[in-house]
Amino acid sequence: MVPLSHYLILSAALFAIGMFGALTRRNAIGILMALELMFNAVNLNFVAFSRYLPQTMLQGQIFAIFVITVAAAEAAVGLAIVLGLYRNFKSVNVDEINLMKG
Amino acid sequence: MEKALERFYSVFAEWGVPSIVPQLIVMLVVVSVVILFISVSVMFMIWWERKISAHIQVRYGPMRVGGWHGWAQSIADGIKLLLKEDIIPAGADKLVFALAPMVVFAAALAAYVIIPFGPNLIVRDLNIGVLFYISISSLTVVGIIMAGWSSNNKYSVLGALRSAAQAVSYEVPLVVSVLGVIMTVGSLSMIQIVEAQKRIWFVIPQFFGFLIYLTAAIAECNRLPFDIPEAESELVAGFHVEYSGMRFAIFFLAEYANMFTVSAIATALFLGGWHGPLLPPWLWFLIKTYCIIFVMMWLRWTLARLRVDQLMNLGWKVLLPLAFLNMGITGLILVIHG
């Protein structure tokens, strides 16, 4: 069988990749995609733990279901915001969307 | 069937070959059988559709190739498509353009895993059976958008977007309509759902569910009266307007394969699957499935195309509330009967 540590490292790598994307992408939709990668990494961890930890309740899987649902809602709202933004700015690059300076 | 498999595996085990080898062989065999089945069945369906349309419009349709009522016409068409030059438009995104038909076909192929042709004639009786079909079928939409976008043609992009919007809107009532059956059986496994219909087919208690499913399924297949995505008169041919030759053939194949899948699922969920007197189970299953396919073709050549706004209204304001009503009433009855 595959040891738990493999899943944990994979998840950490996925999380880091997503974080890198969220920090560097210019396109707002690109950032949203990177965020989804991070959520997936967390979910992978949840499922792996719920498989390997000695317990009967499927808490990890339940948690993952909720995370997926919330992520979907967040993506829908995010894309609606991006569309509204595009209508006004004619761009979806976050560094060009900068009216306020401080 | 399973015994034969076990014997097959044990033979390899005796020779000392790692178990992955016979597993791979079995997988390959199953996949080729499914692809073969799809191709043959699709050719038959295309010929059939042409004949039905012709007879509805009081003509004969293809009559020459192969002798009796032009039965070999589809084979000839297929060979023609395969031999045609493979054109990739200059402005296209080559990688995505090449990937799109494969994605669409993979989705169509994967759905065959859970079709229960008979009590033991199923590739894999997954315990999430119905859910597997629902989730895998959404991959088709991704493939369609890939195809539309990569063609770099505004008609294909429009067609792809329309198709995606339609598929997403009709997927919701489709899923909810199936819930009635799943609640009654208490399982997602296809085999168990069919087994539960030994005495009474679900089409009787779940009649509204069946109608909603059928309507939504036709829309999922982008067939008339819901073929706005490919409406020839306004969009040329929708998302696959730039495709030709082999790649076009794959799209065509996938489309008819999907049609077969939704009909087969309808048979399994509502029409009692393989249950029936006298004839062998697999034959019953095929007969029922082809009956539904016939209905779909019949509708196609009888009804007019819906407008986009009508299409959305029907999906969200008619089918979805009805589907929820059906689910609620089913749940209520189940609770009352304990």
Binding site: G18, M38, V42, E74, G78 | -
Partner: protein
């Protein structure tokens, strides 16, 4: 293990049930409301909030657990629920006139504010990480939408996008912290996590646990706008519609603080030595950066944004000082902070008429001549924010800094006092504009909205009342933290 959905659970969660029913009712009534006449939806939401508030107050004193122990209605939760509901009621009162002024004719605005409040209430009652996360998102997602509610306004679009992206990022970080806690203990209930952690020896120097703690602190740091996780806050505050800005600073940040307190105090109290240090640094950075940068601002919403960052720094002092004095001081200060911030934002809305948005500090020029009452109210809020007696801000700071000194964090208290002095400087800029300069020739218009005046009145009375007679409020805060750990 299996526990069905029953009436007892529902009655324990009655406030949430009522509020969600009101919110959905608003959404439905919005369809039948005639165009241009949607103010009554706002009043109806205020009524709903007050009704919920009454139910919450009736529950005071009892500690009840529901839904398989994931939901807890204890004094701590009830205190925050009262705070959120009062804030929401005031914000709703402010919104009615504001929406009319901006030409937004949508009842969903009120519905979404109620949904956000509902999320906060669940956060306050959450003793399970799952319900905590879900509550957090139920608060955040409506606020993302509300921040972008002025669709034609580019700054509003920008605020919504920035808030959503940062919010999503911080949620992912929080989730990673949660999953590590789950992996370590196999539980998601805060109490279960705590007991399972004490069971294992050597748990508290476990790198995985420390990683979880740091991730949670960083994620919550985003939500409460602590430095260095504050970069997006000024832009969001400036761009969002002003009532939403008020909601963000007076309710959403406090809700973040509530779950932060609950998680760190209940689930990982064993790590207190480590997280005290962490929050010491965060607190120091947050108040200093917030106050210093606030000086340079000419936009009052932006200035208040930095000021609220600074106040988060003060609030964290209580967490550093620890139970029980420090935590009750933090709770008292959340109440004070919510009232005075709401008042300040209500003033911004009062000046938001037509082309004048009331957002530049110059917009306040000559307010004392135009309306001495309004200027006096603003003065009270500003003095309170700076911490000058006899206002609530003074009392709050006194208890906070006192708690810090009592625990030996003298330097932290000294720096906090210095910071308060700095803050006086930029608050006085507004006062100067109001009192020392003449009314501009173009005149100075005030919003005619009556509910807004009610909200202002309540905020003024509250700020003064806590300042003059803090006893009962302090008792309330003390009672709320009793039995938390």
């Amino acid at each position: 293990m299996t526990q069905a959905f029953n009436i007892a659970d529902l009655s324990t969660a009655a406030p949430e049930v009522i509020l969600s029913a009101v919110a959905m009712l608003i959404l439905v009534l919005d369809f039948i409301a005639p165009r241009g006449k949607r103010d009554w939806l706002g009043y109806l939401s205020v009524l709903g909030v007050l009704l919920t508030l009454m139910v919450v107050i009736r529950q005071w004193g009892a500690t009840r657990s529901a839904f398989s122990g994931q939901y807890l209605s204890d004094p701590f939760a009830l205190f925050f629920k009262i705070l959120f509901l009062v804030s929401t009621a005031l914000i709703l009162l402010m919104s009615i006139g504001y929406l009319r002024g901006e030409g937004v004719d949508r009842g969903e605005f009120y519905g979404l504010i109620l949904f956000a409040t509902l999320g906060m209430m669940f956060m306050a009652s959450a003793v399970d990480l799952l319900i905590l996360y879900v509550g957090l998102e139920t608060m955040s997602i409506p606020i993302y939408i509300l921040a972008g509610f002025l669709k034609r306004e580019r700054r509003s679009n920008e605020a919504a996008l920035k808030y959503l992206l940062m919010g999503g990022f911080s949620s992912a970080v929080i989730l990673y912290g949660i999953v590590m806690l789950y992996g370590l203990t196999g539980a998601t209930g805060l109490k279960e996590i705590a007991s399972s952690l004490t069971a294992g020896t050597g748990m508290f120097s476990n790198p995985a646990l420390i990683l979880a703690m740091v991730m949670l602190a960083a994620g919550f740091g985003f939500k409460i706008a602590a430095v260095p996780f504050h970069m997006y806050i000024p832009d969001v505050y400036e761009g969002a519609p002003t009532p939403v800005t008020a909601l963000l600073s007076a309710a959403s940040e406090i809700a973040g603080l509530a779950i932060l307190l609950r998680v760190f105090l209940v689930a990982i109290p064993g790590l207190q030595v480590r997280w005290t240090l962490l929050f010491y640094v965060l607190s120091l950075l947050t108040m200093t950066v917030g106050n210093v940068v606030a000086i340079a601002q000419s936009n009052i919403k932006r200035m208040l944004a930095y000021s609220s960052i600074a106040h988060v720094g003060y609030l964290l002092i209580g967490l550093v000082a620890g139970p029980e004095r420090g935590i009750s001081a933090t709770l008292l200060y959340t109440l004070v902070y919510a009232l005075m911030t709401l008042g300040a934002f209500a003033m911004v809305i009062l000046l938001c008429v037509g082309e004048v948005k009331g957002e530049r500090i110059d917009d306040f020029t000559g307010l004392a001549q135009r309306s001495p009452m309004a200027a006096a109210a603003m003065l009270i809020f500003l003095l309170s924010l700076a911490g000058v007696p006899p206002t609530a801000g003074f009392v709050g700071k006194l208890y906070l800094f006192g708690a810090a000194i009592e625990r030996g964090y003298v330097w932290l208290a000294v720096i906090a006092v210095v910071n308060s002095a700095i803050s006086l400087f930029y608050y006085m800029k507004v006062t100067m504009a109001m009192y020392m300069r003449d009314i501009p020739p173009a005149g100075l218009a005030l919003s005619p909205s009556r509910p807004l005046r009610v909200a202002l009145f309540v905020a003024v009375v509250g700020t003064l009342a806590i300042g003059v007679y803090p006893g009962p409020f302090l008792d309330l805060a003390r009672a709320s933290v009793a039995g938390l750990w």
